[in-house]
C-alpha cells in the first residue's frame, strides 16, 4: 500500500479540497485497506487503494452535505463563489493558479477523472476500475471535463460549437 500513499493523498486532497479532511481520508482508507487485505484478490493494488480513497471521500462529502461533520468553511482555501472576480482574474496569480483553480472548481465527477488522468496519469481501464464505471463513461466524462476546462481557461470553444470542414 505504501507506494500508493502519495497518489491516495493527492486524490483525496483534490476531492475534498482541504488538508485536514484529506489526511483523515487517507488514514481511514489505510485502515480499511488493512482490514480488507485478506479479501483483496486483485492484482492492481493501486486502483484498489484509490477506489477505497475515493469511496471514503464520497462518504465525507455526504456527511458534510448533511451537516453532520465539519460545519464551517469546509471548502478550505478555495473560494466558494463560482463567478470569478474579473479584477482578480486580471491581476491574476500565475497561469498555474488559473489551471489549479479551474480544475478545483469542476464538478466532482469531472474533477476526479481529470485528477486520475492528467495528474496521476492512469490509463482509462484503471480509471474505470477506481470509479467503478464503464470505460465508455470514463471517456465521455473526460471529454466533457476537458471541454469545460478549455472554456474556463480560454482555450477554445466547446466541441459542438466548432465549425468543421468535413460533414
Amino acid at each position: 500500500m505504501w507506494p500508493h500513499m502519495r497518489a491516495a493523498y493527492n486524490l483525496a486532497r483534490w476531492l475534498v479540497r482541504n488538508d485536514q479532511d484529506a489526511e483523515d481520508i487517507v488514514q481511514e482508507s489505510f485502515l480499511k485497506a488493512f482490514k480488507a487485505q485478506a479479501s483483496f484478490r486483485g492484482t492492481e493494488a493501486k486502483t484498489w487503494m484509490l477506489s477505497i480513497v475515493r469511496n471514503t471521500a464520497m462518504d465525507f462529502r455526504r456527511r458534510d452535505k448533511s451537516g453532520i461533520a465539519v460545519p464551517l468553511g469546509e471548502e478550505g482555501r478555495e473560494p466558494k463563489d463560482d463567478s470569478p472576480d474579473p479584477e482578480r482574474v486580471l491581476l491574476d496569480q500565475s497561469r498555474r493558479e488559473q489551471v489549479r483553480h479551474a480544475i478545483s472548481h469542476l464538478e466532482p465527477e469531472f474533477r476526479e477523472v481529470i485528477v486520475l488522468r492528467e495528474i496521476e496519469g492512469l490509463p482509462y481501464k484503471e480509471i474505470a476500475s477506481v470509479l467503478g464505471i464503464p470505460m465508455g463513461t470514463v471517456m465521455s466524462r473526460l471529454s466533457r471535463a476537458r471541454n469545460l476546462l478549455l472554456v474556463e481557461l480560454g482555450g477554445t470553444k466547446l466541441e459542438g460549437e466548432v465549425q468543421h470542414d468535413l460533414p
Binding site: W2, M5, N10, Q37, M139, G155, H164
Partner: protein, 250 residues
Amino acid sequence: MTCREAGPLLHARLDNELDMAGAASIDVHLSGCRACAAQYAAMERLHEEITAADLACAPGIAFERKLCDQFLGEKKSPSRFWSWNWLNASVMTAAAIGVVVLLLSVPRLRIGGDTEAIGAEILDNHLRALQAVHQVDVPSSDQHTVKPWFQGKTDFSPPVPDLSAHDFMLVGGRLEVIHQQPAAAIVYRRRQHVIDLYVSPSAGADSKTELRELGGYHLLHWMQDNMSYWAVSDVDPNDLRMFADLIRTI
C-alpha cells in the same frame, strides 16, 4: 471518418489509448480537418499546461511520518510482518531492511558483491531520500549543472542525459555511499514518481537489465562499461524499463 466519429476518439488518441490502426485513422482525419486539428491542439496544450503546473498535492511530512508510524506499529508481530503488501510499509524502517538484507543475503553471498543485498540497500536509500526534506544536493533540471557538480566529488563521471523529451524530468543529483562505495544518485521525475538512478564504478562484464520487485517498488540493475547501474522507483515497471533503455543507449 466524420468529425462526429472522430470527436470522442481525439481524447483516446491524446491519451495513447488507441491501437496503431485506430491512431493512424485519427491522424488521417486530423490532417484533413482544421477544426478537429485545432481542438486536438487545444487539448494537447491543456495537457501540457496541467503537467507543467505540477498539481499533485503532496502530504505534509508530519502526516506522512504519523501514518508511517501508525502502520508500521501494527506490523511488529512476526506473523503479520511478512503478509503480502504490508511488506511495502515495513521496508520503511531500517530495521526491516536489516532483516531483509540478512535473509536475502545469507544463502546467496558471493565474492564481488551481492546484488540482492545491494538492491535492498538501494531501496532503503531511495526511501530515506523520499522522506527527507531535500532529495538532492544539487537541484537542477539542467544536465550541464548536475554533471559537473559530481566532478571533484567522485572519481568517475556519471551519465546525466536530458530525457525531458521522453517525459523523464531531471530533478538533480546527490552523493551517496552504497555498499561502502561512493555512488552518484541522479534523480528524475516522471509525473509524480521519483526515479533514483545510482551509478558507481564496479569491475565486471556488461550485463542485461534485470528487474526485481521489493516491497512494491521496482529495481532495475545492469552493468555497463565497468559501471554498476541501479534504477529504483514506484513508477510503472514498463516506464522504468523505458527509462533504463534510454540511459543505456545514450
